[in-house]
Amino acid sequence: MKISRNWLRQYVRLYSTTEELQRAITFLGFEVEGVQTTGLPPLENVVVGEIKTRAKHPNADKLSVCTVEVGPAHGGIRTIVCGAANCDAGHRVPVALPGAVLPGDFKIKQSKIRGQQSDGMMCAADELGLSGDHSGLLILAPDAPIGEALNKVMPDGDTVFDIEVTPNRPDALCHIGMARELSAWLRTELQFPAIKFNGKVGGASRPDILANIRVDAPEDCPLYVGIAVTGVKVGPSPAWMQERLAAVGLRPINNLVDVGNYVMLELGQPLHVFDAKKIAGRQIVVRRATDGEKLVTLDGKERALNSRMLVIADEARPLVVAGIMGGHDAGVDATTTDIILEAAYFRPQSVRWTSRRLGLASDSSYRFERGVDPHGTAEAARRAIDLILETAGGTVVGPAFTVGGDRPWSREITVAPHYIRAKVGFDITDDEMRDAFHGLHLPIKEEHDTKAGLEWTVGIPSYRGDLDRPIDLVEEVLRIYGTDRIPPQVSAGPALVDGDDDPIAVFNRQATDYLVGQHFHEVVNYTLRSKQELATWASAAAVEELGLANPFVDDQSHLRPTLVLGIMESLKLNQSRGVATARLFETGRVFMELNGTVQECVAVGFVLCHNPKDRAWLARPEPDFYAVKRHVEILARSAGIDLAAQEMVPVRGAFWGWQEGQSAAAGEMKDGWTARFGLLNLAMVRAAGIEGKVWAGTLALLPAKLAAAGGHRRYQPFSLFPAALRDLALVVDAARHADEVRTVLLKAARAATAGAAFTVESVAVFDVYAGKGLPEGKKSLAFALSFRSAERTLTDDEVNAVFAKIQQAIAADGSVTVRA
């Protein structure tokens, strides 16, 4: 909203500079988004002078030495060195005398220019802060009085503030409102415009102009005032009104329309002016539209209305979308002679809903949907009648209609000064608070001394719908006291508050620290992804569950079920920009299915890429499945999961996005977590435009699983005696998993040591072999068995006896043979 300084000055004395005013508006709680100054700013020691003589500067080709008459009060004739081409004798020009400060903090002093005394400066337009060029001196009228202050000779400038008003302060959406705020800040009085029309209709009763006003929807229109004026003459509004409207960005139209706008910008109450002749049946009906009813609004667009929308209609048709915009053909025009002025209070929610639904907003709807002053409606109508009679003539005729009534919104709040001090946390005196309330026109109606201390009953005017409770008055006092005066304080030492960081935050931090330490770069991608992209990762039914009701753009319509898709996008971007990229990771939320519902999960995902195009002078081994498996194991540990103890399922077909035979899965959502790791499906990677092989790992966890993880660890004693080692190679079917065979072996070893004085400490695979020397379809797995006693060093004999038993047991298992 634009506020003009000149306009404000009608209501409040403003001696402040633009900077001071801007600061005041800011600290009152209104954001100043722009300041535009037009015309001449107030300047001291800048006067009208007449050039008497001009001579060439003896030491400079482009300079002249002039004598200038500036009037007896300013020393009569002065010598001034000038660089302008047009400093000819006879011109009257602005002269900045020593002591003047021109815009841009340019201080004028007596000086010597190339050896010549110069006693001031003659000015070009831009040097005075006026728009215009520097091509020459500003030439004033030949009759401009010599010696007169320039401000008196030239028209006043204005400063327009572009102000953002928070939605709780509709009262400030006008010049009176902003003047009221400034008067409180500046501790000066507010001058309200005098209103002559008292609401009493002087002229005859003219039902032929306006017979009746009927409000069919009083819940959406609690108050409607209609006043008829006959014999108006449509024409341009007076210059002063046009200037003020133009200053705040409104185009003057004609006196009737301009008065409506002027009063809205002055008092905050939107008004509407009807051409009485265009109202069928001389009857105004405030009603809900019917479904499908149409109205062409002023902007020329046809609007389809519905039964939740309020319209102002006549007998036949809707004329205005109530509070938002008038119809194309019901407004005043050049031939209008009789008018009806509307001032109403519309329910804010109704106007807001309709405005949004129609995609139609106006200065009027902007104010109605925030709430105009229900007690100011009639007053604004009277102010407008004054201005109509003044600018368009005419006579007010009866009857004047007021349908509905003021709502009892004026109210009182009881607040104690000590309460305010307790809330702000520092001393503000009672008198300073009284000042604030007085300045804001919040009268202290009563003061009581209670046991708890002084208490005030503060009157709240109807236009301050935002003030309801004592805490609301704390803000009012603080605003006027000045939030820049809150005293500093060393932050108090923290009172002990129970609690630790959320397990999610701890997990993310640990995962990030680990992966960064493993040379990964963290990326951050959007949560919302496209449906097509998700189709590469999940079934159509699963994708369906992740969709938004109202996506903004097509490629961000669904929640992500995995971090991998985003990481792949980062990978592709870097590859396409020629930036070698090997290791990326991300942490964040993903959304996965469990028992027919979507679960929000905490997740970490990473990729390890091998792009043959990334060359190095020394070759390193390519990443492989076992590299990503180790990373996933370590990440899972942070969530309290021992991946090695979990069943690992190789990916076969059904898993989206992963390469069959090169990837594995562990964990299930029903247990609160799931991991996938291995090679990303090569076809998918190629289709995404990514080169090379991409190994990846993901871990998704339910927050509840993380919260349950952790727990206290206890020390386990360990043996200080040496281990006895035995190696055993077993031949098995090539498709058989090593861990299955290891489990068989471990079981046999445990059985064999059952009665012995020592235990099998570990069984670990150390060699996998297939090929020459083995039958087709078989492979050899070599295991190292480690035996140890807690009490003593083992003898070969006792270990050999156990080892022999193990081999016998293994031989008995038909699926495994001991390799010769």
Binding site: Q349, T483, D502, L515, L573, T597
Partner: protein
């Protein structure tokens, strides 16, 4: 005899340097000084030397023996060195780059978030987390946002279809809709409902606005938010916290200022400006950084805290905006493109 000794030494001098392996060396050593070695044989002839010549001859033999030993030791040393050298590769070029991966990096948003959490931890704040999929109650109603408030409009907030079921996100009422949270303030509500005062938490996290993406807007972005609930919390305490945070983050000359503002869930409410003269690419004396205020009594009532007993403050800000200010980044989209040339600049 002297001639024999000299010949023997000459032979050893010729042979030993040409030996290639430790085995050859052991064999050669045995031939000279072993029990059946030539030198040993010479020493055995000492008995045949006339008595008067023995001292001189003994001296000669000892000298020759010492010389031979020196040669043997040198040969052994040479072979040992050769064995070690055989295990080493060619000499390195210290100027060649390592082919291994360079240092990993945290994302700048993570760096700024962690730094804020670290600073706040010193003031007694612990990190809380909440779901990104929220419900109308936690995101709006409980924060005193009326049902027809524009922020709740489907134009500004992402909603899910009514049939959507999120198994681990609790609803307050069965009929309310799921949505993507528009601010981290919903975590305040969940935290207050779950715990009891005093509370001092910071909630960083991802939030969503239905908005056009451009240099300063992003469909999802991140906020960090503090909530303190205790007895006798004042506006002055809030200002002190913000002074502390930004002096810690941006240097002790950093000033903050409060401008009165309006938020539904705080009263009084303020926008917070930072003195910005030392920040890169900012040409204004003050720059807006976040919003704050004293928790509105209605919010306390909603979570069952007596506003006559408990008071508190809340403060929230955008992480992207803060990171952009700190690092002088001029386009929010860089955070989400993840160009490594960008990411590597911050760690």
């Amino acid at each position: 005899m002297q001639a024999t000794l000299t010949a023997l030494l000459a032979k050893a001098t010729a042979e030993l340097p040409s030996l290639k392996t430790r085995a050859d060396f052991e064999a050669a050593k045995a031939r000279y000084v072993g029990p059946n070695g030539e030198f040993t044989a010479l020493m055995k002839q000492m008995g045949t030397v006339p008595k008067e010549e023995r001292p001189a001859m003994g001296k000669l033999i000892n000298e020759a023996k010492a010389q031979l030993q020196v040669q043997l030791d040198a040969t052994l040393q040479r072979l040992g060195d050769a064995e070690i050298n055989a295990q080493l590769g060619p000499a390195i070029d210290p100027t060649l780059p390592s082919p291994d991966a360079g240092p990993g990096t945290s994302h700048p948003l993570t760096l700024v978030r962690d730094e804020m959490c670290r600073i706040l931890r010193k003031a007694g704040f612990t990190v809380v987390e909440g779901p990104e999929v929220e419900t109308e109650y936690y995101c709006f109603d409980a924060l005193n946002t009326p049902p027809d408030h524009p922020a709740r409009d489907a134009q500004d907030t992402f909603y899910f279809p009514e049939k959507s079921r999120f198994g681990n996100i609790t609803k307050k009422t069965p009929e309310e809709k799921y949505l993507l949270r528009t601010h981290t303030s919903s975590v305040q509500i969940r935290t207050m409902l779950k715990g009891s005062p005093p509370i001092r938490v910071v909630s960083p996290g991802r939030v969503y606005r239905r908005d056009t993406s451009d240099a300063t807007h992003s469909a999802n972005f991140h906020q960090i938010e503090c909530l303190y609930v205790d007895k006798n919390v004042t506006v002055r305490d809030l200002k002190a916290l913000l002074d502390y945070i930004f002096a810690s983050l941006l240097g002790k000359d950093t000033k903050t200022r409060f401008r009165p503002h309006y938020f539904g869930y705080t009263e009084p409410s303020f926008e917070v400006d930072l003195s910005a003269q030392h920040l890169p690419k900012v040409n204004k004396p003050w720059i807006e950084i976040g919003g704050c205020g004293m928790v509105d009594p209605l919010v306390f009532e909603g979570v069952g805290y007596d506003p006559n007993v408990w008071s508190g403050y809340a403060f929230g800000m955008g992480l992207e905006r803060l990171a952009m200010l700190m690092y002088g980044i001029d386009d929010i989209r860089y955070f989400y493109q993840n160009d490594l040339r960008f990411l590597k600049q911050f760690a």
